[in-house]
């Protein structure tokens, strides 16, 4: 869960260190205090969401995260995520590296693809967009976006009007 979130957050431009996964057993009050105090200090140093080093502004993040949340609810993405979790569970090796590699090869690509699809659609819904506009908002490359747009075009979902791409039939 945490690794998938981290990779998706990073992809959206959020510093993945904003997400912490820690363990404290019921008796470990002092450890908990240490963990929380430390964590708050780290987040304070990072600054507000969207203003941390390398983070795009809040407006951009909001669009990306909105699409990411939606993507996280899409059966295809969840199947990839669940299937990977199942595989890890059956094989029983939970090393950090194995999880990181597995998520980046088995879960993340589907997740990113879906996030971009949803986000491009959301953007176009707001009005015609040039690919360069979409690059700024989604953080994806031109080539990747052209691929998505031409797929849309083939399915008759969107078209290039010359002054930008628009959604059809909406």
């Amino acid at each position: 869960m945490a690794e998938t979130c981290r990779q998706v957050l990073k992809d959206c431009g959020v510093n993945p260190e904003r997400l912490a996964l820690e363990w404290a057993s019921a008796a470990e009050g002092p450890r908990f205090v240490e963990l929380i105090t430390d964590y708050v200090r780290r987040i304070t140093a990072l600054g507000p969401l969207g203003e941390g080093a390398g983070e795009p502004g809040w407006d951009v993040l909001a669009t990306r995260l909105e699409a990411a949340v939606k993507a996280a609810g899409v059966p295809k993405v969840r199947t990839a995520y669940g299937t990977f979790a199942k595989k890890m569970h059956q094989e029983g090796h939970y090393t950090g590296d194995a999880i990181e590699d597995g998520v980046s090869s088995k879960v993340f690509p589907t997740f990113r693809q879906e996030r971009l699809l949803l986000e491009v659609r959301d953007c176009l819904r707001e009005g015609p967009k040039a690919i360069s506009d979409l690059v700024v908002v989604t953080g994806a490359g031109e080539e990747e976006l052209s691929g998505i747009l031409s797929a849309f075009e083939k399915k008759g979902l969107a078209s290039d009007t010359g002054s930008g791409w628009v959604l059809k039939g909406e």
């Binding site: 057993s25 019921a26 008796a27 470990e28």
Partner: protein, 60 residues
């Protein structure tokens, strides 16, 4: 119902881990339990142990 006037209650002497576990099981088995402890609270030495081997999880 009771033969020879048997009492459906048990006195457990000692509120350490063994006493408490006995009391819980006996109550679950359908008996009333008096848990008699010398000290002001139950738990015994177990409550003093930090972590328990080998699982190292909390003892309470």
């Amino acid at each position: 119902m009771t033969d020879k006037g048997k009492q459906g209650a048990v006195l457990v002497l000692g509120g350490g881990v063994a006493g408490v576990q006995s009391a819980l099981d006996l109550a679950d088995l359908g008996y009333y339990v008096y848990l008699v402890e010398k000290k002001a609270s139950i738990g015994g030495v177990m409550a003093q142990l930090d972590k328990t081997f080998p699982t190292n999880d909390c003892s309470l």
